[in-house]
Amino acid sequence: MSQAAVAPEIPQRTDDEPAVVFEHVSIGFEGKSVLDDISFTVKPGETRVLLGPAGVGKSVLLKMADGLMRPDTGRITVFGEEISSMPEQQLFALRGRIGIVFQEGALFDSLTVRDNVAYRLIEERIPEEEINQRVVEALRFVELEHTLDKFPSELSGGMRRRVAIARAIVSRPDLLLYDSPTGGLDPITSTTIIELVIKQRDVYHTSSLLVTHRLQDAFVLASHRFNREANKMEPLPEGQSDPQTSFLVLNEGKLVFDGSTHELVHSDDPFLKEYLS
């Protein structure tokens, strides 16, 4: 029996169906609670920026959204499918609609850039010609089409992160998960990565959940748009923010904020005030 035959039918997303829904999700490790009663929604085309101090459980939350970790309690729904208790074999099929960029890129170090980006397409037995075309297209998006035959170890940290973005978008996913895509990078390289996230948001309108602890990146994301003619990002007019970008803030395992950029900036919450200052 082929895998295609056993793979479950994944219902196509309707326009108003949320991409991700967390309902009262909790998880802990070795008896210690890490995330407690987390609930939020990522609507279609929306970009949600998850902020919080280091070690608060942001990456754990992101991995749960991809089914890489399972919650102890609560429900996680992705494209209308409950993934909290979904068997791994069915999750493999669902993950075809999700792209994820890991904290350090997580590129396969024994494969070339081309094979890293093409990995999912090769596994799906897509014709070689189409693979090459889509890989070049994805690498062109991150402006790295000249690195096809290089190995990850031959690239800089920023380039590796851009290849990871190319690998995540090559399958044209409906949902993108970014796990601290600028972590450990210098400010200039971080801006290049954030520009790519903005480009993906404004050109393809892909729903996304982005984890970061760098406030500067989060606010650049909210206050800039991508200019397709100039092929670069530009700031929105003074006082405006991207309506499709909103924030979630985690602290001590709890979701302490869920709202727009304006609400975040004008919040009276003492923790948020201190965190943003």
Partner: protein, 259 residues
């Protein structure tokens, strides 16, 4: 306090066994599921099997040689130096061939598997593989198990043959024994049961090496230090299990075949 510590240790032990059984079981059940990673099996067979041939040949040759050297003098005291060939072939085929080959392959490959998969775990490459829709148990673990079991079987046969040749070299060139007598004794005294015993062991030992190596690799935590710890544990645990299971298999086989 002491009870709580014991309780934690027991739970940890049971969880480890459960996790080991799940990883091994799921990897083996993937053998008959598509997609079939045939190319990965061949790659691993080359790394594990062909790559281990030099150490297996060297180990087998010198083990057979030293066995002949040590046993010939003892046998000579009873006027039985002529059965040196029989003793070497018996020992090599039933015990030393399978066990020493497995220990060598364990040292070389259980550590390799644990460190390779462990590095992939701590750099999130395993998670990336799952996120990209590939089951790492099917893509990484299953080919290693199949390749180790198959290749260890053939490596043991090579080791047995080279060991008997090593014994012959010592018996003939150092001890001045007759070569045809050595080989005649070595061959004629062997029974079907001896060969079965010698051929079943590498299949079990191969399974132990690959599953233990992959288990420690796939459960690695704690960065580069964790990778080092997994590598050491994989070699130690697989070596101890090989020797312990050798005793159990030998007792079982003697029970069945009576020799």
């Amino acid at each position: 306090m002491a009870i709580a510590t014991l309780d934690r240790a027991a739970k940890k032990g049971v969880t480890a066994v459960q996790e080991y059984a799940l990883i091994s079981g799921r990897a083996l059940s993937n053998l008959f599921r598509r997609p079939f990673y045939g190319a990965d099996i061949f790659t691993q067979a080359d790394i594990i099997g062909v790559g281990s041939i030099p150490i297996v040949i060297l180990t087998g040759f010198f083990t057979g040689g030293v066995l002949a050297l040590q046993s010939a003098s003892t046998l000579a005291q009873f006027g039985a130096a002529a059965v040196t060939g029989q003793l070497v072939s018996f020992s090599m085929i039933k015990e030393l061939g399978p066990v020493l080959t497995s220990l060598m392959v364990s040292g070389r490959n259980a550590s390799g598997m644990a460190s390779e998969l462990g590095s992939m775990m701590v750099t999130e490459q395993i998670d990336a593989m799952r996120a990209l829709g590939t089951d790492p148990l099917k893509k990484l673990v299953m080919p290693r198990i199949v390749a180790t079991v198959v290749m260890l079987f053939f490596l043991t046969i090579i080791s047995d043959a080279i060991g008997i040749l090593g014994g012959a070299a010592v018996s003939v060139f150092l001890l001045g024994q007759d070569s045809s007598q050595y080989f005649h004794n070595a061959y004629q005294s062997l029974r079907y049961a001896d060969l079965v015993q010698g051929m079943v062991k590498p299949l079990i030992f191969g399974l132990i090496i690959a599953t233990i190596g992959c288990y420690y690799g796939m459960t690695t935590r704690g960065g580069t230090q964790g990778v080092g710890r997994s590598t050491t544990q994989a070699v130690v645990v697989s070596s101890v299990l090989i020797i312990a299971s050798d005793f159990v298999i030998s007792r079982f086989m003697i029970g069945i075949f009576g020799r």
